[in-house]
Amino acid sequence: MDTGDAAWVMVSAALVLFMTPGLALFYGGMDRTKNVLNMLMMNFWCLLIVPVVWVVVGYSLSGQNPADFDNKFLGSLDFIGLKGMGIGGEDGGALLITMVFLGMFAVITPALISGAVADRMKFSAWAIFVPVWLLLVFVPVFKWVYGGWLGSRGSQDFAGGTAIHVNAGIAALAMVLVIGKRKGWPQEGHPPHNMPMVMLGTGILWFGWFGFNAGSALGASGTAIQAFLNTFVAAAAAGLAWAVTEKLRDGHFTNLGAASGIVAGLVAITPGAGFVSGMSPLYIGLIAGVVCCFAVGLKTKFGYDDALDVVGVHMVGGLVGSLLIGFFSSPDYFGTENKAGLFEGGGLGLLGEQALANGATLIYSFVVTTLIALALKHTIGIRVDDETEQNGLDLAEHAETAYHGTN
């Protein structure tokens, strides 16, 4: 493996790993003092269980080993325990570091869901949910999109807009529909307990997202550079759009608006990061910022308690970005195997494929996630009791308190 490519993929993998603690802080800061450790632990749990499941069986089933490229729905069991994979081959470890890089995505995808179920999900249920959902939802959808039936039809997803954000976002919706609303929601609400923590998390997320998107080029290539540039511009544009929308609508530029917009822009540019160029990332960011700013209001309208807006930011942002590929995809730079979008001289074909890929993901993920949630609900239970919810999950679920003052 070329050393420059190896260096870039390793750095990118490290950056994506760092995103999960960043996400934990982003969510944890928005949460209340009494639940922040539960939020952190839901995210750290993904950091503990997913890598193990991934190297043992998840990677193999995800069908990302070239030997499984013919499969269209699932990988195989040929690579459980990384059988036969090493750095000694002639690829010098390229396959192995790709496996690790993808493993980082496997970590953060279920972690995204934690923001929706905040403040009321039993940790034991979460502990089981994560590996089960990983194998039953993340792994197949990932295969479909990358080298599977959706991808081969012609839909595009550079770094995981469909496979990760739409997938996690719709799963979050399924979860909150089964789990139900937090007590008192939406009459009462609770402002973020620690906004600087939210902003720190945002900074880490943006920083790490350069690895997420530009690392997905799997080398330090021109495509990586374009993805890097797009990640920079789209995040800023979306943050700007969200902040300005709020200023016009509510009267103030807010930190949470800036942070939310940045994340929405990062989500929206993810699917197209390596397929669009020029000012397209600017437009994608601006659109995503405005759309997501309004989308987070849907939960009160429709009455699903998506506590920290996983649906409004990740599902909607992912959909927006993924569909916009149908307009902005520019095959010039990225090779003709990629279709052109409507604005780049292509027809509606790509848009149709994008719609199909996302539609299939939405349906499959929603159905299977609902079934997992129901199974948990009717066996070990999925929701803490009222007293735990009132007093906070940190103490009851983890026997820990976030802040100890008088000592």
């Binding site: 609400g189 973020p192 209001g297």
Partner: protein, 112 residues
């Protein structure tokens, strides 16, 4: 002996403390509190959702004083803490007996 309690605006703390010191008060105990009263709270909007925060940050001061000094001290507080805007706060007095200085065991007037 008297315990004078007052709720004031936080930014007045330094002024009131200085004025009390000038008035001969040798000790104060201060607590951060949240006040609810005529002074309206405020609204914070997070991601488009409005949260009404009814409470306003205030500071509570407690001053133990000789009966003879109480009125004067109240006067100093009222004068210094006043901005004339809603939310300036209150002062009140309660009777306090058996004041002991822990360090020395001194009592009442000697203990404050």
């Amino acid at each position: 002996m008297k315990l004078i309690t007052t709720i004031i605006k936080p930014f007045k703390l330094d002024d009131v403390k200085a004025a009390l010191k000038d008035a001969g008060v040798q000790g104060i105990t201060v607590t951060e509190v949240q006040g609810f009263g005529r002074q309206a709270g405020h609204t914070e909007v997070y991601r488009g959702t409005e949260y009404t925060i009814d409470f306003v940050p205030k500071v509570k001061l407690e001053v133990l004083a000789d009966d003879a000094d109480a009125d004067r001290i109240i006067g100093v507080i009222v004068e210094t803490a006043r901005t004339g805007k809603i939310g300036d706060g209150k002062v009140w007095v309660t009777d306090a007996g058996h004041i002991v200085r822990i360090r020395t065991g001194e009592l009442d007037s000697d203990a404050i």
